[in-house]
Symmetry: C2
């Protein structure tokens, strides 16, 4: 079913307001899910809304909390997320650190007790559009095995980077957003629901043996991306985020996958003011154009820059509406209609 | 040939002083190369010394420069490296930003016009031992092809992360240091010198075709690690470093591989004061122990944490000396003996 972005937005906001979120908080949470859906990241899109509503109803998400801010030092903000909506707490924290970075050149937010941030690209895009660079890190429940190990001990630990890149030919910032797992657990669940076999090397079963059975992998572990290097990166992010936020670590992390457990992972935002040099912006934009123009290995597949496909997908959705699974749309309308009662 | 660490140190310092470096600068540059050699990263170790000396003689390295510091904002330091020795300029910058981070919680150094930093792990280790976390990024000459592209357009763009991790059972910080290329160009050169075939997927030749011929790969491009994700990461680092430092980007970067070209890449250090909570340090240390104890896929290969093998290699070298290639040792002794004349 194709639904206009405005209709999707109204439906999501109604569902969230019915669950108890204020209008601005409902708007932020809905905007995040819609952006993820439009950018082609369905795993972080509309299908997450019922989970968010369930978490509010189960008392593990306080929809009107905004996070308690304490400046640990003049340019480092500690945020107790107060179990608020992930994007609400995160955006309030980003507002505060962007303001501080405007003054001191850099500021860091260290967030604990916050719900799932969702797609990190949204924050990178937002901060870069304000003229700042962002490095965002977040941890999650342990789903990834150490390289050479049999058990899930690391989160999927994504990193996002946003950099302003001006110039008439590339007005978009560079936005990169990736998990340090080889595939998303959402992909494993998708394969399991379709009965499709996994690719070799993606996952281990509950006994730590390699498996192509998606059902078995759901109870096992996902591989880190890029072998030993991706493992090293994911582990360093896990340790760095915990050291900065005081969040839970490894298998102690809960609440990023279910509807009833408090969420105790950590999030870190590093916001830095870049050089204010139009020629430099133009140089970066020219570089990105040159990369896109690199002779491709396969003539049918031009080289792309991180965010290109997402931007094209987003433009298409804005123009033509969002393709929503029928059953999911029924669920969303039901959650929203309850609001009207 | 096995040479004691003290003898290696004296030899390297003599060679650098003969080339014109002050005693403290010679000591810093020598310490970096020796640490890399001891940690098992020979590609960044003693074999780099003749190149450093040649660069000084050719006027593209000013061995007594320390970098000109300008605080762009209260917590962001711009460093004009003045073509100094990489580790000298970098350590002076780190001293300054650690001091600022002690006050404001975070500070960033943006370095341009500096020579090769060498092994980033050394900086991560040093900063973590002072009680701070470090994220270090550096660019290099374009050696890596975009994912799906035929030409080298990205540097090997390494990242290093250092995090204090206390506790009696894990007194060492966590130190992670990796390039975003699948293999190092040094490894390609090593294979070429031995006439050994490369592994599939490592490199392209000058025409952008996959090759197993190491000689051909020297004139082509190396793959990013981890496929599209590693490419995205390396590209984001390239753009982030340029946006923050104003350094050259992509194929405009020079001077990281030869003896005669000024070095125009950029380096970024983000130093953040972590939570001062002994219980948290212990929690991180316990996590790292648990990861090492993870049931291994291969019983003969226990799971390791980034830095473990380097630390073991370093301890062995300290106790038993450094195994130096005979021809290289002759060269180093000649460079050092010239000093005595």
């Amino acid at each position: 079913m194709i639904v206009s972005v405005d209709t999707v937005r109204a439906t999501l906001e109604a569902a969230l307001r019915h669950a108890g979120a204020s209008a601005p908080h409902a708007a932020l949470q809905a905007a995040l899910l819609i952006e993820a859906e439009m950018r082609g990241l369905a795993s972080h899109g509309l299908l997450r809304l019922p989970r968010v509503v369930e978490r509010i109803r189960n008392g593990v998400c306080a929809p009107n909390a905004e996070g308690a801010h304490t400046w640990r030092a003049s340019h480092v903000l500690d945020v107790d997320g107060q179990q608020g909506l992930g994007p609400v707490v995160a955006m309030r924290a980003l507002d505060a650190v962007c303001e501080r970075a405007a003054e001191g050149g850099v500021a860091v937010a260290c967030i604990r007790n916050n719900n799932h941030l969702g797609m990190l690209a949204w924050y990178a895009q937002t901060v870069a559009e304000r003229g700042y660079t962002l490095i965002a890190l977040s941890t999650s429940e342990a789903l990834v095995h150490p390289w050479g190990g049999r058990r899930a001990m690391l989160g999927t630990n994504p990193i996002a980077i946003g950099v302003p890149a001006g110039g008439p030919h590339a007005p978009r910032p560079l936005v990169m957003d990736m998990a340090t797992s080889l595939v998303a657990m959402g992909k494993i669940h998708d394969y399991a629901s379709r009965g499709a076999p996994l690719e070799a090397g993606w996952a281990l079963d509950a006994d730590g043996e390699p498996t192509l059975d998606a059902q078995a992998a759901k109870h096992g572990a996902i591989a880190p991306f890029g072998g030993a290097k991706g493992y090293a990166l994911g582990l360093a992010f896990e340790v760095l985020v915990t050291a900065l936020t005081g969040s839970a670590i490894g298998t102690d992390v809960t609440g990023t996958l279910d509807s009833h457990t408090p969420c105790n992972k950590g999030d870190v935002f590093v916001v830095i003011a870049p050089q204010r040099d139009p020629a430099l912006h133009a140089r970066v934009a020219a570089y990105l154009r040159a990369v896109r123009a690199c002779e491709p290995a396969n003539a049918q597949r031009p080289v792309s820059v991180p965010g290109d496909r997402a931007a094209a997908s987003r433009e298409h959705a804005l123009a033509h509406g969002i393709d929503v699974n029928d059953a999911l749309w029924d669920t969303l309308e039901t959650l929203a209609a309850a609001h009207a009662v």
